[in-house]
């Protein structure tokens, strides 16, 4: 049951990512892939909140697994972010490639940390 729901929510997460990315790209052309960065930061914030809620006992483990592993996992993507980094480097934009790679890492960890603090505050 959990596996099926992870698949369902993972599919919804991927569809939401596709839609959000397309929505942003249809409106703005940016020098950094901000839509992927934003998606990964937002998904990391949400998984942090979920982990905080789980730690505080506000949600059961199976709800956490489905929402975190399913939705957040399907919504965020490491592969696209990484290929976008390589594409920037291929264009000779090495600084932007490095900013994309390490900036995304730092921002997502900060987002997960803030989300966790928020989740424990809500859940307690």
């Amino acid at each position: 049951m959990t596996l099926a729901l992870v698949g369902l929510l993972g599919g919804l997460g991927a569809a939401a990512r596709f839609w959000a990315d397309g929505w942003v790209r249809a409106r703005w052309t940016t020098r950094l892939p901000w839509s992927t960065i934003g998606i990964n930061v937002l998904g990391s914030l949400v998984i942090g909140v979920l982990a905080g809620l789980l730690a505080g006992g506000a949600i059961p483990t199976n709800v956490y697994t489905v929402a975190a592993t399913g939705f957040c996992g399907g919504f965020t993507t490491f592969s696209t972010a990484t290929v976008e980094t390589v594409r920037l480097a291929q264009q000779g934009a090495y600084e932007r490639a490095a900013v994309n790679a390490f900036g995304t890492l730092v921002l997502t960890v900060v987002a997960a940390t803030l989300g966790y603090a928020l989740g424990t505050a809500i859940g307690s």
Binding site: G7, G48, G74, T76, T77, V83, Q91, A101
Partner: protein, 147 residues
């Protein structure tokens, strides 16, 4: 003027099906490869393998020529959907947060930086392999700075 792909229900559904399969595969790999001494091996493997495969897929499709319906379905279903859903940034970020919170700063840094470096190397390898096995092989720089 054609509609944007993200506004086409059939393509959104294709990404969703791919994402569902990728997420289930990720769930399975994470269970098969539990953390080793705190290092989240499952997520690391998923992300590095997924980055390699996406680099390969996108480059091979790019070099196959103008994108037709079949190639677009492959790119969106397998790439955006399956590999996008198979890999994850949220778990990576949360695991780094967890290691950091446990005082395992060195492992948190090694895991985070290692994921980015290995992932980038894997995506580069995938792109090079995707370019090499393609029959029509233009200079990789021909794709130009505008792509």
């Amino acid at each position: 003027m054609s509609r944007h792909p993200h506004a086409m229900p059939a393509l959104v559904a294709l990404v969703a099906v791919g994402g569902a399969c990728g997420s289930i595969a990720r769930y399975g790999v994470s269970h098969a490869l539990p953390a080793q001494d705190g290092l989240p091996v499952g997520t690391l493997v998923e992300n590095v393998v997924g980055a390699f495969l996406l680099g390969f897929l996108l480059e091979a499709l790019l070099r196959a020529g103008t994108e037709d319906d079949r190639r677009r379905a492959l790119r969106l279903g397998l790439g955006t959907g399956f590999l996008g859903g198979f890999t994850t940034y949220s778990a990576l970020a949360l695991e780094i947060h967890g290691l950091w919170g446990d005082g395992r700063i060195g492992l948190a840094l090694a895991y985070g930086l290692g994921s980015v470096v290995l992932g980038t190397a894997a995506a580069t390898g995938g792109i090079l392999l995707g370019a090499r096995r393609s029959r029509r092989v233009p200079d990789p720089h021909d794709a130009g700075p505008e792509r």
